[in-house]
Amino acid sequence: MFDVLDMGASGLQAQRTRMDTIAGNIVNANTTRNAQGQPIPYRRRFVLFAPGQAGSPDKPGVRVQEIKLDQSPFQKRHEPGHPDADADGYVKYPNIDLAMEYVNALEASRAYEANVTMMEVSKQMLSASLRLIA
């Protein structure tokens, strides 16, 4: 019965990675340059889940298979005075919709809570079974 706790831990880890990705998106919602200073905006990232625990995919659980880049097009805003404006005066902004990121963050935190509840219940059931011989 202890592998239920391993399963729960894999769920917590996966949801935590998802939260980190969403936090990265929110923080970089207006970043018009990349790390090298070129005028290439931050591209939205999202996680791809797959069944199976990380490290032993045949055990039941969930893992982050990949952190993918969202290939949808960048937003363009007309700001002629911006240092990163192109020849027509348009600046490319990251393809991040803050409202959607907030909703995703809420869902990830609820899933995290649900996982914590499951682990609590697993511990309770194990303790109840222990009381058989007490």
Partner: protein
């Protein structure tokens, strides 16, 4: 032989099988919760009604058979993929509310059966000890 019959009298084997069922079902529900965001994942479950129907049939058979002949050891829950819930665009038919309520009911049944089993064993122990604890 007679010790085995002593330990298997009454409802102890029924309760033991139910405990194994609730433990196995808890693992399935936990796996469903953990995979609530995984695309293409099919929810797994074990039906409590079917399991209890199997138990009921075996109890009826035991009533008509010789004492100690009918055993409960082979009754197990069956894995199935229930069709309930909405199929989301990522191919997952999750329902968090259903999972949480299933988990609560399962845990309550498990704890209750543990208490009942404890009571039976303690009654046997009292009889053996010949003194009230």
């Amino acid at each position: 032989m007679f010790i085995e019959r002593l330990l298997n009298q009454g409802n102890a084997p029924l309760l033991e099988r139910t405990l194994e069922f609730t433990a196995a079902r808890h693992k399935l529900i936990a796996e469903n919760v953990v995979n609530v965001d995984t695309p293409g994942y099919q929810q797994k479950d074990m039906s409590l009604e079917k399991f209890q129907a199997m138990l009921r049939n075996r109890v009826e058979a035991r009533r008509n058979a010789a004492p100690g002949a009918a055993s409960f050891a082979d009754i197990d829950g069956e894995l199935e993929n229930p069709e309930r819930g909405i199929l989301f665009h990522d191919g997952n038919n999750r329902s968090m509310e259903q999972l949480m309520s299933d988990q609560a009911k399962n845990a309550l049944l498990h704890n209750m059966v543990v208490e009942l089993l404890k009571k039976q064993y303690s009654a046997m122990e009292n009889a053996l000890r010949e003194r009230v604890t």
